[in-house]
Symmetry: C2
Subunit: 374 residues, 2 copies
């Protein structure tokens, strides 16, 4: 993996390219989430058509189902999904803490029970890398300890200490046993909303010298101003020449803010999750297709969009499908929202390259202000 910065806006926003063996990733980039080897309510062909440079899949979910042995036989996640582009996987840590039952953090890893069948499992820094080797991810993440919001500073400090120790272990294990050209490894900054802890975590991870750095533990319920403060502070402490990835974020405005702080990569289930609830991004803000005001609206979802859903169907028809519980409604809504995200990120990248980023930032800020933004 090789990262090239093409342009840095005076605001701090960056446009770059991550070269991987499976293709180039133009940043800032949004990665849609193929939780269990498929993006919910998306087909592989629709995904190809939209043309994301990279997608994300979840180690925790793949590990439990279909499992490591099957994935190995299938030629990894790429063979299993029949997908040839770059794939990033998380370490599974976040899901262990948020989804599994009876999770118990030890110094050497984390014990947990499957949320599917209650079976006992153990993830260590080395184990999650082995799993990601079987998955065949192009970019792997280290095991970290994510904290909730709110969290006591003492607990956050503990998590940072453990996260840093695991990061060191992970890096050594990776250097000893992985092909760095095929599978890169990112460190993850934790520290909750405590500037001192974030700073400490950054410094320790930067000393270790990872190929890239992720910011974890944000957009977990903290107020907007804390999200912004910690994002700005953390991004500024990460090395300029390495890609920066904000995990699990987010809404268009959260992404835009982080881009302005110099963050390059994003993933979030929000566009696909809200689509399945009828909420759609448009050039003029968010709408919910269930609304009675669309009952007789024969105009497109978003006249400025250009996706096949907007050029084929009326709001009235899409509302009817959604109200009738048609599966096609979920497919169309998801397609539209992911198309929106792709175009949104392209617009941001182009604006960084041509110097219009501040104007684009302000324009979207106005669109998503107030009721428009979640």
């Amino acid at each position: 993996m090789q990262f090239t910065l093409e342009k840095t806006d005076p605001s701090g926003a960056r446009a770059g390219t991550i070269k991987t063996a499976r293709g180039d990733i133009r940043t800032p980039v949004f990665m849609p989430v193929a939780t269990r080897g498929a993006i919910k309510a998306m087909t592989a062909r629709d995904l190809d058509e939209i043309g994301f440079d990279i997608i994300l899949s979840n180690t925790y979910h793949l590990y439990l189902r279909p499992g490591v042995s099957l994935l190995e036989k299938a030629g990894g996640i790429h063979g299993f999904m029949n997908y040839s582009g770059p794939i990033l996987t998380d370490s599974g840590g976040f899901q262990v803490f948020s989804l599994s039952d009876l999770c118990k953090v030890r110094e050497d890893g984390v014990e947990f029970r499957s949320h599917i069948d209650g079976s006992p499992h153990f993830f260590s820094p080395a184990r999650v890398l082995d799993i990601q080797k079987s998955i065949g991810s192009d970019i792997m993440m280290v095991l970290d300890q994510c904290t909730e919001y709110p969290v006591e500073e003492k607990a956050a400090a503990d998590a940072v200490r453990r996260t840093v120790a695991w990061a060191g272990e992970s890096l050594s294990y990776w250097k000893a046993g992985f092909d760095a050209d095929m599978q890169s490894l990112f460190g993850i900054v934790q520290g909750g909303v405590f500037p001192g802890l974030r700073k400490e975590c950054c410094e320790r991870l930067v000393e270790l010298d990872f190929p890239g750095y992720a910011i974890g533990g944000l957009s977990v319920g903290e107020p907007k101003d804390l999200y912004q403060e910690i994002t700005e502070l953390t991004a500024a402490l990460l090395p300029r020449e390495k890609p920066r990835y904000m995990m699990g974020v987010g809404s268009p405005m959260e992404i835009l803010y982080a881009v302005r702080c110099g963050v390059d990569m994003f993933d979030c289930v929000m566009p696909t999750r809200i689509a399945r609830n009828g909420t759609l991004y448009t050039s003029h803000g968010r709408i919910n297709i269930k609304s009675a005001r669309f009952e007789n609206d024969f105009g497109p979802l978003d006249a400025e969009c250009g996706c096949h859903v907007c050029s084929s169907f009326s709001r009235a028809y899409l509302r009817h499908l959604f109200k009738a519980g048609e599966i096609a409604a979920l497919v169309y809504n998801t397609y539209h929202n992911l198309f929106f995200m792709k175009r949104f990120m392209e617009e941001i990248r182009n604006a960084i390259l041509d110097g219009s980023f501040p104007a684009v930032y302000d324009r979207w800020g106005a669109v998503f202000s107030g009721a428009g933004e979640e």
Copy 2:
């Protein structure tokens, strides 16, 4: 609407073409069911790609939701769905009898309550044609009274008498107020499993001289031999030069049998419904993708199929998606089964044209014999 017979096999199977203002329909034909203006788990683009000559939609469902007024504003069902090919609609009678609450048959029509909100409604022969006019169907069906299996002969005779009376009313109403070139009208033969009643109903409807004839009230639970006996008897009593449509049928072998009796058109939710339950048609019979035997099966669903699902994904991946509850599994399964049905009907038609129909009949009979067929 114009029907041309191209070839009649010595067995009785026919190949023909129905010309409509919206396109030609090559028969024998299978019509997938867009119940509420969408085929369940299918997108419009996937449907276009498979390329059915005609699809079916349900008057009862469209009448309740989105309703006649909205459909009129949308430019009918074609404008609403953004679909330009021929569409056949049933009269709504079948759903009134099978789905609605408190349905009450009167001499002039049928009172019922919506299965959605319990609101009271009334369908008469003229009313269902008015609704189908608003829908803009290319082929409309008369209101009929479908009987269940088993049914007393007295009740079946009553239904035939009413069905014939309504058919006469419908035909007069259609002749007086419809553009026959744009909206054709088929009569429907009832009579349960009673040969005498079927014969009487056929004779009375043929006297009325409809542009086409449907066979209703079969595949409603009767044993296979009765289905076959009544199909053969009824088809033989219908005029050679008019299209014959077997309503709501069915499995590949039910279709094949009816084709051999000279039936030209079919519709059924079976291929899409069983797909959503994981059951898939293949060149070698039916399989259920949930089966544990596919867990490590990296071969295609059906090596002889050629649809994009079979050429892209393994059985192991499709099984994983289905077991994980992914929406994509429903979309892929539905696509495959409809692709199968399209290819199946094409093979039948080509076999009639080139004289190999008996061989094709026997080959599929062997494939779907025993456990292969439902």
